[in-house]
């Protein structure tokens, strides 16, 4: 299957290089790959490249390139899946996948590769089997401790802080030293949704798509059975109906192969015995029929005086979330026509910022409360702009005033309405500490485009 496997940093420095078959012919394959990648013409895809007698397939993960070479005509899906799985495994073992963690854990990575692949054939990628063979410990930059949180509750008292873990809590290595029992047994469950929306210039909704995943990262010893309960009224497919209301609906669902589904039909409960590490329990998608209104609506109005070259864009952003929710890190990216010279702005709130960069306007709103309306007025000078002829100031958008794209995060909110009701562990693992269960719901935008 695979001839060589290597990991390059984002600048092309080789971090890991493993030759399984010895058929590189004495050439520096990693160097070859990077040169080919950077020299590729724009319309060719870099995913699979060919040079001499070998194919290079790679994925980009956290800024790193994970590359496999092969000289046979094998399935691209299997190979891409293998690379993704390797990325996940390395992330599990080293805490997170980045240039720093890889360079600190080179020995561990090579040991992993030795066990996972033999002469280029996949032996196993399951955490279960691997933990019997891997001896090296992961090196972390600083040991993680919940005491790092700024305010620590008194012994036994449950303060607000101890209910919240920083988002980096899950990014520690999974298999630390076997004798260390003081590490907390924890399990992190994320319901993450990606929202893609396309709105036409007249305000009509062209496309809405939600891709959701339920991801589990378990630090519990494997074999602990857990049950995840989802919203009972959650229906799959267009014809099903449960409960009394319109219900929460998804179009399609797919599960990881190790999930037991006996109770899914009746009570929407998933049972599984997850191995340590990361696992995607369930994937679902929903199109065209969101139960809740779209989180953002944009009302742009454009005034363009061709004679004087003055372009005025007034953007009104309305957030349609429920009043208690908020959106974080909202950024609106609006490409501008070529040759925009200056920008003057009037924004409706103090913490917002807007700036001109790389031919586009970037408007940052760190926090938007549900139900609120924010606006910004931007005036620019665009000398010499081509477009539909006409002397009078027109309201049609000049060429190059591109579609506005929004990126944002919606914490504690799922667009489809799916929620995890409970997460129960069937039996207590050995060790006295009560395992901590962290459940998080999060939606973020994948491609939220509004045409102007």
């Amino acid at each position: 299957m695979i001839s060589q496997f290597f990991i390059l940093s984002s600048k092309g420095d080789p971090l890991i290089y493993k030759d399984f078959r010895g058929d590189s012919g004495g050439r520096d394959v990693a160097e070859l790959f990077y040169r080919k990648l950077t020299g590729l013409p724009g319309d060719e895809s870099p995913v699979v490249m060919h040079h001499d007698d070998r194919h290079f397939i790679h994925i980009r993960h956290s800024g790193l390139y994970l590359v496999a070479t092969t000289s046979e005509n094998i399935s691209p899906f299997s190979l891409l899946e293998l690379l993704s799985r390797l990325a996940t495994l390395l992330g599990d073992y080293c805490g997170s996948l980045s240039e720093g963690t890889i360079s600190r854990n080179v020995a561990l990575v090579y040991e992993l590769l030795d066990e996972v692949l033999d002469y280029g054939y996949v032996q196993t990628t399951s955490m279960e089997m691997l933990r019997n063979f891997i001896q090296t410990e992961a090196v972390v930059s600083k040991p993680f401790s919940l005491f790092d949180l700024s305010s620590v509750g008194l012994f036994g008292a449950e303060t607000q802080q101890s209910k919240v873990a920083p988002s980096s809590a899950a990014s520690r290595p999974v298999l630390t030293s076997r004798s260390d029992q003081s590490q907390k047994n924890e399990v992190f469950l994320d319901v993450v949704e990606r929202l893609s929306v396309l709105i036409a210039s007249n305000g009509s909704l062209l496309k809405v798509d939600v891709q959701g995943e339920i991801r589990l990262k378990s630090f519990l010893p494997s074999g602990s059975e857990m049950r995840i309960g989802l919203t009972e009224e959650f229906c799959v497919g267009k014809s099903e109906l449960r409960g009394y209301g319109p219900g929460i609906r998804v179009d399609e669902v797919s599960f990881h192969s190790s999930v037991l589904l006996e109770e899914f039909e009746s009570h929407r409960i998933l049972r599984l015995q997850p191995p340590q590490g990361e696992l995607t329990v369930m994937r679902y998608q929903l199109s065209d029929d969101l139960p809740s209104p779209l989180p953002f609506r944009l009302f742009p109005s454009v005034q363009w005086d061709r004679g004087s070259g003055r372009l005025q864009v007034y953007l009104k952003l309305r957030c349609d979330l429920p009043p208690k929710s908020q959106a974080l890190n909202v950024r609106l990216h609006l490409p501008l026509p070529r040759g925009v010279v200056s920008l003057s702005q009037e924004l409706s709130g103090p913490e917002q910022t807007a700036e001109l960069g790389e031919g586009a306007l970037r408007w940052d709103l760190p926090r938007v409360q549900g139900g609120s309306q924010l606006s910004g007025l931007f005036q620019m000078d665009v000398p010499g702009l081509p477009g539909p002829p006409g002397q009078a100031p027109s309201t049609s958008a000049p060429l190059g005033l591109g579609p506005a794209s929004l990126s944002f995060e919606l914490p504690r909110h799922t667009c489809s309405g799916l929620q995890v009701r409970f997460l129960r562990l069937a039996f207590r693992p050995c060790g006295n500490a009560n395992p901590h269960k962290w459940v998080r719901h999060l939606s973020h935008s994948d491609a939220y485009v509004i045409r102007v």
Binding site: G42, D43, E44, S45, P46, V47, V48, H50, D52, D53, H55, H58, I59, R60, N73, I74, S75, P76, F77, S78, L80, E81, L82, S84, D118, Y121, V122, Q123, T124, T125, S126, S196, L198, A200, L206, K207, D209, Q211, E252, S254, F255, S257, R283, Q285, S287, D288, P335, G359, P386, G387, P388, L399, G400, G402, P403, S405, D446, A447, V449, R451
Partner: protein
């Protein structure tokens, strides 16, 4: 060996698939296969490997086939994309004779494929899109209701957007054409010029079936007066009027005014061609061409000048009064002052044609203005699934058929070939006789080195006579792929002093050649090369007028070297 769950499984599988005796015993083979398929404990890599192995199995009865397909059904719903695609490919190949089963499978795999197309991983998305395009070649309506999933998103990398635009172009049908065209129209004004041009070409592709709407959109785009848009629109118009003559009127009305916005060679050629062929319907055609003629001295592209000559002559036939003068000036420039020989030749040709009389000119230049049947020929008629089933789930759809052909040719040559040997060493190949037997071959001291003399002058009749009088001394086959280039072969043989007495034309079926060579001792080698149509081997028959095995072997090796080298350098 891939790890398939346990040692026993591996042993059984090896036994089942490698041992010919086991294969002969139908019942045992079937049991083994079934046991393997029922392995629930395999992980996704083991399952993918098993599915790959099973591609080699030929079910012997319909019942067996459907049994296996039923067992494999669960793999189609696996969460691992590698397993799903492997199972799909196996279905497609096993059910070769049952197109409705193949269609069923493709319906079942629609869901996973679409999910992969919207996956977070761009690379997976790209691989899935390539396979979607593959499926659309056979089932154009398959994804039509899901066209929205193929709308391009702003942040996607360029190569994914290009694939999506191609898919959109191919899944158009009556219900979604309006929305798809609107979406593509939006892309035509994209900031990236490459992407905009790709979208315009896609609209051109759709225009073959939905001509009116597309021509309207393209005309609107001309109104934007953007250089990169105008040139591609004009090129699209040129291709369109050839295939869909009904839109000529609309195109002619849209053209005036776009000459100001075109600077590149392709666009100019397209515009000039249109003006030449349809100039009688475009009022200001002569004046536009006059502009080009005025500036012909500063025109850098010879292709544009050639196109200009032809177009002006055509227009002259329909509007002689307006064009006569500038035609004269253009011909004068091309013949007297032009440095590019191709342009000059064409100018001369037209001049002489004009001298021959206007009727001659009309006869030669008035070709049909459109050929709608070409569109039907060109249109990828729905290809049967079996033509690409074996390429599914491999790297072939990811590269595309054209690129794969060059890659596999390159790979084949690499594996076979040494580099082109030095011509000096052609006539003196390495010794064929092993070292130990050199002592025994005392009577022919220079037998290891074959010296072919260039002066083998044998007439055709002599050759024929000698050929029929001798018996075949040596016959062998030589692997050969592709077409023969007789001239190249003849020249290469000449270098090693092998004369060609007779050779078939390129492309003749069967292809034959007769060669003659003589070595310095006077021994003649008469050779026949025969290539049957559709064969991958060339038959070589050699006759020698003196029975000398060593020189014969040397000659064969020289011939093989030449043929091998020619085989590698195919244009």
């Amino acid at each position: 060996m891939p790890y398939l769950g346990s040692e026993d499984v591996v042993k059984e599988l090896k036994k089942a698939l490698c041992n010919p005796h086991v294969q002969a015993d139908r019942l045992r083979y079937r049991n083994v296969i079934q046991r393997v398929i029922r392995m629930p404990k395999l992980d996704q890599w083991g399952q993918a490997e098993v599915l790959n192995f099973l591609l080699r199995y030929q079910p012997r009865s319909e019942e067996e086939l459907f049994d296996i397909l039923n067992l494999l059904d669960s793999f189609l719903k696996s969460s691992s994309p590698g397993v799903v695609m492997g199972a799909t490919k196996l279905f497609l190949i096993l059910a070769k004779k049952f197109p409705h089963v193949q269609t069923d499978v493709l319906v079942q795999v629609k869901g996973p494929l679409l999910a992969a197309c919207s996956s977070e991983s761009r690379e997976l998305c790209f691989a899935a899109l390539c396979h979607v395009r593959q499926i659309l070649h056979s089932l154009p309506g398959h994804f039509s209701s899901h066209y929205k999933k193929f709308f391009c998103s702003y942040s996607e990398p360029h190569y994914i957007k290009l694939q999506k635009v191609e898919v959109l172009c191919e899944l158009v049908n009556d219900e979604n054409v309006q929305q798809v065209l609107e979406e593509l129209r939006g892309y035509c004004t994209d900031v990236s010029a490459d992407f905009a041009q790709a979208a315009i070409f896609a609209i051109g592709g759709i225009a073959r079936t939905y001509t009116d709407q597309c021509v309207q959109i393209l005309t609107e785009l001309l109104g934007l007066r953007q250089e990169h848009i105008t040139t591609v629109v004009v090129q699209t118009f040129r291709d369109l009027v050839w295939l869909c003559p009904q839109c000529t009127e609309a195109v002619c009305q849209a053209l005036p005014g776009c000459e100001e916005n075109i600077q590149d060679s392709e666009g100019k050629q397209a515009l000039i061609w249109l003006l030449g062929v349809h100039g009688e319907r475009i009022p200001n055609a002569p004046y536009v061409l006059e502009d080009f003629v005025e500036n012909v001295k500063s025109e850098t592209f010879p292709a544009v000048k050639m196109e200009l000559l032809t177009a002006l002559l055509r227009l002259f036939l329909s509007r002689p009064a307006e064009c006569q003068d500038m035609l004269g000036r253009l011909l004068h420039y091309c013949i007297e002052e032009e440095k590019d020989m191709a342009v000059r030749d064409r100018g001369l040709f037209y001049y002489r044609l004009l001298l021959a009389g206007i009727d001659e000119v009309k006869r030669i230049l008035c070709s049909p203005k459109s050929d709608p049947s070409l569109g039907l020929l060109e249109d990828q008629a729905e290809r049967p699934v079996n033509s690409w089933a074996s390429d599914f789930n491999t790297l072939v759809p990811v590269y595309g058929k054209a690129r794969w052909a060059t890659i596999s040719k390159y790979q084949g040559a690499e594996r076979r070939g040494p580099e082109l040997p030095n011509t000096a060493s052609f006539a003196t190949p390495g010794p064929l006789i092993p070292e130990e037997s050199k002592e025994t071959v005392q009577e022919l001291p220079d037998s290891e080195v074959l010296m072919l003399v260039p002066s083998c002058q044998l007439t055709a009749e002599d050759f024929e006579k000698t050929w029929f009088s001798l018996k075949v001394a040596h016959q062998q086959v030589f692997p050969w792929r592709g077409a023969i280039h007789p001239d190249t072969l003849q020249m290469a043989l000449q270098v090693v002093n092998i004369q060609t007495i007779a050779m078939s034309r390129a492309g003749a079926h069967p292809w034959k050649a007769y060669l003659c060579a003589q070595d310095d001792t006077g021994c003649l080698f008469l050779t026949e090369l025969l290539l049957e149509p559709e064969s991958s081997e060339m038959q070589i028959s050699v006759k020698q007028n003196e029975p000398r095995t060593e020189t014969l072997n040397s000659f064969i090796s020289v011939l093989e070297t030449v043929l091998g080298t020619i085989g590698d350098i195919k244009s």
